[in-house]
Subunit: 136 residues, 4 copies
């Protein structure tokens, strides 16, 4: 399992006229969470990008339990439970203190600059094998 935590301070721009965080504003936070996860795992998203790899979102589901509000500090907990293969499955929890506000899942695959599916970089696969040894 891979796990990472990152803090987000809610911006005014992220609220809507209901007085709470706009439901679409959580989506970039998931991205911040998995950027951090990749980083801590040794893979900088930007360098992957410069090396010709993209890791787009194939699908996303998100469940809103309780709203975040302006100026809240929330934690994005990002988890990869299964060894990534062709697909990478990522799970998220967004919390304010102990209170769970949002749960989400995304699925990803590596593609190249032309947009065609591609094998993950060799060092990424090797790192996954090392990390998830016995799991895959």
């Amino acid at each position: 399992m891979l796990e990472s935590r990152t803090l987000i301070q809610v911006r005014f721009a992220e609220t809507d006229m209901m007085g709470i965080v706009y439901h679409g504003s959580y989506i970039p936070w998931l991205e911040v969470g998995r950027t951090r996860l990749f980083e801590e795992f040794g893979f900088n998203y930007r360098k992957l990008h410069e090396a010709g790899y993209h890791v787009p979102v194939l699908d996303l589901s998100i469940k809103y339990l309780s709203p975040a509000r302006y100026d809240d500090e929330v934690t994005v907990k990002t988890v990869v439970r299964e060894k990534p293969g062709i697909r990478i499955k990522i799970e998220y929890e967004i919390l304010r203190g102990d209170q769970l506000l949002v749960t989400a899942r995304t699925q990803h695959a590596f593609i190249n600059h032309a947009g065609a599916p591609t094998r993950p970089p060799a060092d990424f696969l090797a790192a996954c094998t090392r990390h998830f040894s016995g799991a895959g």
Copy 2:
């Protein structure tokens, strides 16, 4: 069944450095689609809001099949298949011409200004009963 179609022209602001529409930028388009659907069904979102009702998103799932690009004109097809009860289930297809780019689903419930679950407005329920007669 309720169905509505609305056109969206992709803004530069909605793209990302992959050169395509940012995956989070589709979320407001779903909202534009269901606003139109409600409108055509006789219920203006803003008036509902002024009358003290919110219809927040409880959960959302979205599947990215093919990317939209800057300046594309896309169609958001919004459908309610089942008679709304406590929950309202909405399905979406985003198309460029005949090409299906994105599918999505959201679930909603009525809440009041205090954020507590509430029964939908009586005229909304009546309209649903009329429209989905025999279905619920």
Copy 3:
């Protein structure tokens, strides 16, 4: 003078917890306005982009007179008064009916894909000369 008008329907996503349109949400509307202006002048932004030209914003100023609200239909009036040279100066008015909500100005220059300043495309310059004849 070049002038163009385009309609925008305010999205829920564009509001903030003050209950009005977030001040940053007007910025993409300016871009929608000038995209339309360029289009009507015979220059499609996307094609310019594909041909290797970008027309970035060098500076922007915006004045908020009265707020737009959710579901308002606003008009973005976009004007180029002076014949574009190295710089293109664009002015904007955002109106709801007759009421002026926002005024803005942007300045632009052509750059190439490498980010270096470049002369505008020859046909763009020719079109400017034709249109602003006697003015420049």
Copy 4:
């Protein structure tokens, strides 16, 4: 003079198809900067808001010198030079290391929940007088 610095890590969501930060994405960063400035000055924006005060942007100007890119860590330097009166003038510099990327200015005034201009809270005025003594 009041001065504050805050760090921002550029999100993927904030980029556009030019491969750089979308020019409108800097606007929320200015807001993050002045939220911090107010906070350090003893005034929490959210508490002001809860107490019935808003501090909307009356006008904004921004100059783009060099683009920020995905994953950059930038500093938002926020400065109030003059003692706030009816108007509050705020200046900003956005830097990546020593490199100045963006300069900006905003002007603000206090309004109440009804949107009418109002005197700033008494403790805010008192704090300004203490801080800018001799300057106003």
